[in-house]
């Protein structure tokens, strides 16, 4: 079952995500996120030490926290627009969306082995990143049944919110300052 979903995520994401929506598996999502999070530190490790395993566990844990935080954040935004209640689906789909990241392993191997020149290696890495990001956006679209334009708004709305918040904070402190100085 996982192998079919794995294949489908890479080559037929639309149908696969639709299928996963009806039966989201948090446990599988957790395993995917935990293992994918460990990939970068493993590939960058210069030395094999006992400390590395401790590092991998903490990185894996950090990755899971980030994944949960991301889903929680999107869910809150969705609730604001009365589209909430699908966090479980989002968690499952966003975990599968990370699967293309495993291709970083052979890219890194070919690059260090000299089979892939620096620039090509970087481009390949960027391509994998774009693929993962696109799938993540797709996961959000599928989970909440919204268009891609609305998903992009989901990214910019918090930024605008931060600017407004920052402006309020500046206004508050300057008002406070002028009151104190009188």
């Amino acid at each position: 079952m996982f192998l079919e979903n794995f294949y489908g995520t890479l080559f037929y994401p639309a149908d696969t995500f639709e299928k996963l929506k009806s039966n989201p598996s948090l446990l599988t999502g957790l395993a995917i996120v935990g293992l994918v999070s460990m990939l970068n530190p493993v590939l960058r490790a210069d030395e094999i030490t006992p400390l590395l395993s401790v590092g991998l566990i903490s990185v894996s844990f950090g990755g899971i926290i980030k994944w949960a935080f991301f889903a929680f954040f999107i869910e809150i935004l969705a609730c604001i627009f009365n589209r909430g209640g699908k966090i479980e689906i989002l968690l499952a789909l966003s975990a599968y969306a990370l699967l293309p990241w495993i291709f970083i392993a052979p890219i890194a191997l070919f690059k260090t082995g000299g089979l892939l020149a620096g620039l090509l290696g970087a481009l390949a890495g960027i391509a994998v990143w774009i693929w993962t990001t696109a799938l993540t956006v797709f996961a959000v679209m599928k989970a909440y049944d919204i268009s891609s334009e609305r998903v992009l708004l989901l990214i910019f709305v918090p930024l605008l919110g931060f600017i407004i918040f920052f402006d309020w904070i500046i206004g508050f402190f300057s008002t406070l300052g002028s009151i104190i100085s009188v």
Binding site: I48, P106, T112
Partner: protein, 336 residues
């Protein structure tokens, strides 16, 4: 079935890459432990000064005087900075040799002598090679004569071994034209020697002549001690300066680097690169870094590089006003 096979292949391939990468890292770890390599430079390490054996490169540029105090936004090749760098190089056990790059027309007598003495002290502990740049004349040569070897470019201007003192007599302008007079009340007859309101009298002229001759004899004595009497035993080519040649050519004339070698005032034709090769030959170490001791190192160097972009170097006063104007009535080792 086909889907599962492809998925397994992809996953297997990625996993194999990870395993091979991990094994390779383990192998490199074993190799590194057997032959530890010099770590590549990185940003954090560049914030600390380099350690390990090194050759110190000290730069002296411009007029030699005590006025050229180091200032963060000015050139770090003044006489004061060079003096400090020479002391640091002497005290640093990791410095195995020193290249002293001089590009100076000379300057004040006292500061030239301080630098000369510092090079002599340094020479007792480690080899010093002077590399002459465009001009290494008068006071610049005074200092260079203390080194174990002097390398000059064929077109370097050097020599000007002598003393100069300028006395300005502005009576014509001030008294005759502007009607400005002065009255001097003094405790001794020589107290106002060099007064711009009047010419020198014969006694004063004799006094200053003796002063200049004394300074000149110090100059010649220094060259004898530094150059003629050197006894280093280094296996590096050198030319001998005879007392006859010293007497003949130390009459204030300038000559080129090529001529300097012919007369015995320099040892070899070459630039900074050749000086580096020479010092490495003396210390018998081929792979050793050359560190600029005139500039701040480590974090200070990083900060200086950033600030140089913000605050452009301003030309010093000495670039506009000749030193003899800046230091009137004073003997100078300078070629002007």
């Amino acid at each position: 079935m086909k889907v599962r096979m492809i998925s397994l292949l992809i996953l297997g391939f990625c996993l194999l890459s990870i395993v091979i990468g991990t094994l390779s890292a383990g192998k490199k770890q074993v190799e590194r432990k057997a032959c530890p390599a010099t770590p590549p430079p990185n940003f954090l390490k560049s914030l600390t000064a380099p350690t390990g054996n090194k050759i110190a490169l000290i730069v002296l540029e411009g007029v030699i005087s005590t006025d050229e105090a180091d200032n963060f936004f000015r050139d770090f090749s003044s006489a004061q900075v060079a003096l400090k760098a020479l002391k640091e190089a002497r005290e640093d056990k990791n410095v195995k040799g020193v290249i002293f790059r001089i590009n100076s027309p000379g300057g004040t007598v006292a500061m030239s002598q301080e630098l000369y003495n510092s090079v002599l002290k340094l020479r007792e502990e480690k080899p010093v090679i002077v590399s002459m740049a465009d001009v290494t004349a008068s006071g610049g040569y005074y200092i260079a004569s203390a080194a174990d070897r002097i390398y000059a470019n064929p077109g370097t201007i050097t020599g000007s071994i002598g003393v100069i003192m300028e006395i300005i007599n502005a009576r014509g302008l001030l008294s005759d034209k502007l009607g400005v007079d002065s009255e001097m009340i003094k405790s001794g007859k020589y107290k106002d020697t060099g007064n711009i309101y009047r010419p020198l009298n014969p006694d004063e002229r004799t006094l200053l002549n003796n002063l200049v001759k004394n300074a000149y004899s110090q100059f010649v004595k220094a060259i004898k001690e530094g150059r003629i009497n050197r006894n280093d035993g280094y296996e590096l080519e050198k030319t001998e300066l005879t007392e006859e040649n010293l007497e003949k050519y130390a009459d204030g004339r300038i000559f080129t680097g090529e001529q300097a070698i012919e007369y015995g005032f320099a040892d070899k034709l070459g630039g900074l690169e050749e000086a580096e090769e020479g010092i490495k030959k003396i210390i018998k170490i081929k792979k050793i870094p050359v560190v600029n001791y005139s500039k701040p190192r480590g974090f200070e160097e990083f900060f200086l590089q950033m600030s140089q972009g913000l605050a452009p170097k301003m030309p010093g006063v000495e670039k506009i006003i000749p030193l003899s104007r800046k230091y009137p009535r004073q003997p100078l080792f300078i070629w002007e």
